[in-house]
């Protein structure tokens, strides 16, 4: 049996999406900037994709920009806004548990002379409003907070943060990295005081190499790539028509029955957690999915520590049985250091070294989780027998 529980790393492309992409690549392959019919056909796919995505986010089509993925969207939002608004101030705020696409970009901006405040998180992996309140100042031009944490699935209080930021300093821009949240929750930038929002295609059963950045109409931002002036001069480069159309199609499919899926996934997650709890010395990192919908933790990410078994070893042991999971997060799995999010939460060493991330998708079934639990029941006691003795 093959069980893919690494959906926060990437997801399987929906067959309907793959079909559409193939059609565009082989038939409607024109460049939307071309004046002839081939170009117009391609442009229509683009227009349709924008309509779909704008409808989902309830924003204006003109406020959507397409990039090469989540990383570029974050880079463009942060660098583009920091530079365009630097005469107003050079202070930026983010959290300690952001994805490297945000953290490393902040490091780069520090090198350019910006001051960055990194908000700490509590034991559940969420920021405290009080810390945010104290940090926003007159010269704060941008706050960037992630919607859903990629390692433990904690949900940040985005709407609350948006209100607070605007109350203290109406000129401060609010960027939300929703790479893990888009496709899993309804996010409405206009209602939540979000000025910029990043999302990625391949985390929502769409293709790799495409991302989205919502930029509110009044936001002052400058490009970081220069060229042919596509996308209103903010993001040059030939439009990735198949990728954009594929991402829109995937989003459309997910959002057409979102609540149903999310409820089912919360149910799966609770079911799985209950199964894990039957084993000794297993700790859930972050909040438990206690039934209250959308409170603090996402439906699709679960981090658990199997004390005494090193993450990498368990990962490979599960792999032998056809089960695919992550140690920490996939993006940092090649570096041997333990998860930055868990460290920021103050989790102790034994838990850091044994943390495994299970991430679900709409394809995940209860049967798959039963199988996974059974394998864990078999393997964990054996692996615990052979650990490095001190």
């Amino acid at each position: 049996m093959e069980v893919y529980l690494d959906n926060s790393a990437t997801t399987r492309v929906f067959p309907e999406v793959a079909e559409l992409i193939k059609e565009i690549m082989c038939e409607d392959y024109g460049n939307p900037s071309s004046l002839h019919r081939k170009g117009i056909q391609a442009e229509q796919h683009l227009r349709h994709a924008k309509e779909t995505l704008a409808g989902i986010l309830k924003v204006n089509e003109k406020e959507l920009f397409f990039t090469s993925g989540g990383t570029e969207s974050d880079n463009l939002a942060l660098i583009g806004c920091a530079l365009a608004n630097q005469r107003r101030g050079k202070h930026l705020i983010t959290t300690q548990i952001e994805h490297p696409a945000v953290l490393q970009t902040m490091k780069y901006l520090e090198g350019l002379g910006f001051r960055v405040t990194y908000l700490p998180v509590d034991g559940t992996g969420r920021i405290r409003m009080e810390d945010l309140r104290r940090s926003v100042a007159d010269d704060t031009t941008l706050v960037s907070i992630m919607h859903t944490n990629n390692e433990i699935g904690s949900l940040q209080p985005i709407a609350e943060a948006g209100t607070l930021i605007k109350k203290i300093n109406p000129d401060t821009l609010f960027h939300v990295d929703a790479v893990q949240g888009f496709g899993k929750a309804r996010i409405y930038p206009k209602r939540m005081n979000i000025d910029l929002l990043s999302a990625s295609g391949h985390k929502i059963h769409g293709p790799k190499g495409v991302g989205l950045l919502y930029v509110g109409e009044k936001v002052k931002i400058q490009p970081i790539l220069f060229g042919g002036g596509q996308q209103m001069n903010l993001r040059s480069g030939t439009d990735n028509v198949p990728g954009i159309a594929g991402m829109a199609k995937a989003a459309e499919m997910l959002y057409s029955h979102l609540e149903e899926d999310v409820n089912r996934l919360y149910h799966c997650k609770r079911y799985f957690v209950n199964g894990l709890k039957r084993m000794e010395n297993v700790r859930i990192n972050g909040l438990l999915p206690d039934g209250s919908y959308g409170e603090g933790t996402a439906s699709h990410v679960l981090s658990a520590s199997f004390i005494g078994v090193r993450s990498e070893v368990l990962l490979h042991a599960l792999e032998d049985e056809g089960i695919y999971v992550s140690a920490g997060s996939a993006c940092s799995a090649r570096k041997p250091q333990p998860s930055a999010t868990l460290r920021a939460m103050g989790v102790e060493k034994a838990r850091l070294e044994s943390a495994i991330r299970f991430s679900f998708s709409v394809d995940t079934t209860e049967k798959e989780l039963d199988y996974t639990l059974k394998v864990l029941y078999d393997k964990i006691p054996v692996l615990r027998r052979y650990t490095r003795r001190a």
């Binding site: 490979h316 042991a317 032998d320 041997p336 027998r385 490095r388 003795r389 001190a390």
Partner: protein, 392 residues
């Protein structure tokens, strides 16, 4: 401009009656190395020299890079072929050659002619003198120095005339295949690929064995070893890499033996399995990357303890090397960057905090007796897992 290479070899030259065997092996290796290069080459042996003639267009830098990986070559001389159309024509070509290769034209030089074809109208002394004059006339800033010239301009008169003056160093050593075959214990570390390289340099063909311990070591760790073997194979030719699943043996030792002795006992079983594979594959010895005192399992006592289980000679070319010296070779041969990728190998995964540094062989033997019940069966089973990967 250059259309051929003269290959000079060092040690082969002093061989006796079996010299042709070494030369033929070298030609074979050169052919293999050039297979991946752009262009067609004819490799031939003439009067105790090996020539590589390009028969089509080729990429000079790429060809040199590949030739520099063929053990047995001490020097590579890029050669210009000149058809014999009279001495004056030859002088023109040589003058142009100097202008192209030494743009300043202000060096000291001497002409070193060899007349293999005796019906050529000038003898070698005359060629030296007349050619020297032609060069001096063309480039007033050049001067002759017969003792310590900057440039030695070689002119060999055969069917065609060969002109060369540049020498590019080769890797030295002996052609692979002339020294038999040995089994390399290849881990993912820095040392073992270097050890394989050094023994191959003495003409030895290399087979390799890697001990894989899933799930404690990952597929990527195995891929890393395959990648390392591939880099080494650029010098050695194809490597037969045996991958042995070692997990059960390792766990069994972990269960039955004192923890401090785990690494030593584990290494003893690796040596036994490697020897078995070596004998099955006509290898005349084992190769390891050990160096005295580098880690607990490489002290003199530990080496003695691992050595005693193996009947074949164990070659340890790095035995007197410092880590830094090993790293330098690893960087030179291109394995270093791959070696330091952070994947666990089976030696590090269960390592004790304080492993024994002076194991007593008698005690080790006694503790190995704890394994009697199942170890033979497990070794048999491990040998059956042998996955052969041909790396080239």
């Amino acid at each position: 401009m250059f259309t051929a290479f003269l290959i000079k070899y060092a040690e082969i030259g002093v061989k006796g009656k079996n010299r042709h065997l070494f030369e033929d092996a070298l030609i074979h290796q050169i052919k293999y190395a050039l297979k991946k290069c752009e262009g067609q080459f004819l490799i031939h042996k003439t009067q105790g020299r090996i020539y590589v003639d390009a028969q089509t267009d080729f990429d000079f830098d790429e060809t040199i890079e590949h030739l520099q990986k063929v053990f047995g070559i001490s020097q590579i001389c890029p050669v210009v072929y000149v058809r014999d159309e009279g001495f004056e024509k030859l002088c023109d070509t040589v003058v142009k050659y100097i202008g192209d290769v030494y743009p300043g034209c202000n060096k000291t030089f001497k002409v070193n002619a060899r007349r293999a074809r005796k019906d050529y109208p000038k003898d070698s002394m005359e060629i030296n003198a007349d050619m020297g004059e032609a060069i001096l006339n063309a480039y007033p800033d050049m001067s002759v120095d017969v003792h310590k010239p900057d440039i030695t301009l070689n002119i060999e008169v055969r069917e065609n005339i060969y002109v060369y003056s540049e020498t590019i160093p080769g890797p030295g050593g002996m052609p692979v295949g002339t020294g038999g075959k040995a089994m390399l214990l290849l881990s993912g570390g820095i040392d073992s690929p270097v050890a394989g390289y050094m023994i191959a340099k003495r003409g030895v063909k290399i087979d390799a064995v890697y001990f894989h311990a899933p799930p404690y070591t990952s597929e990527r760790a195995k891929q890393k070893v395959v990648d390392l073997a591939r880099i080494v194979s650029r010098y050695t030719g194809p490597i037969y890499l045996h991958v042995i699943n070692f997990t059960d043996i390792q766990l069994y030792i972990h269960e039955k033996c004192p923890h401090e002795e785990l690494t030593i006992i584990m290494r003893r079983y690796m040596m036994r399995i490697a020897e078995h594979l070596a004998r099955e594959n006509q290898c005349l010895g084992l190769i390891t990357g050990e160096s005295i005192g580098q880690v607990a399992s490489q002290t003199m006592s530990s080496l003695a303890a691992t050595n005693e289980v193996c009947g074949l000679p164990v070659y340890r070319p790095l035995i007197g090397f410092d880590k830094q010296e090993i790293v330098e070779v690893a960087e030179k041969i291109g394995t270093f960057e791959t070696s330091i990728l952070p994947f666990e190998d089976c030696c590090t995964i269960f390592v004790a905090k304080h492993p024994v540094t002076k194991p007593n062989v008698k005690i080790i033997r006694r503790h190995e007796r704890n394994l009697e019940e199942r170890i033979e069966e497990l070794v048999e089973k491990a040998l059956k897992t042998d996955e052969l990967i041909i790396v080239e």
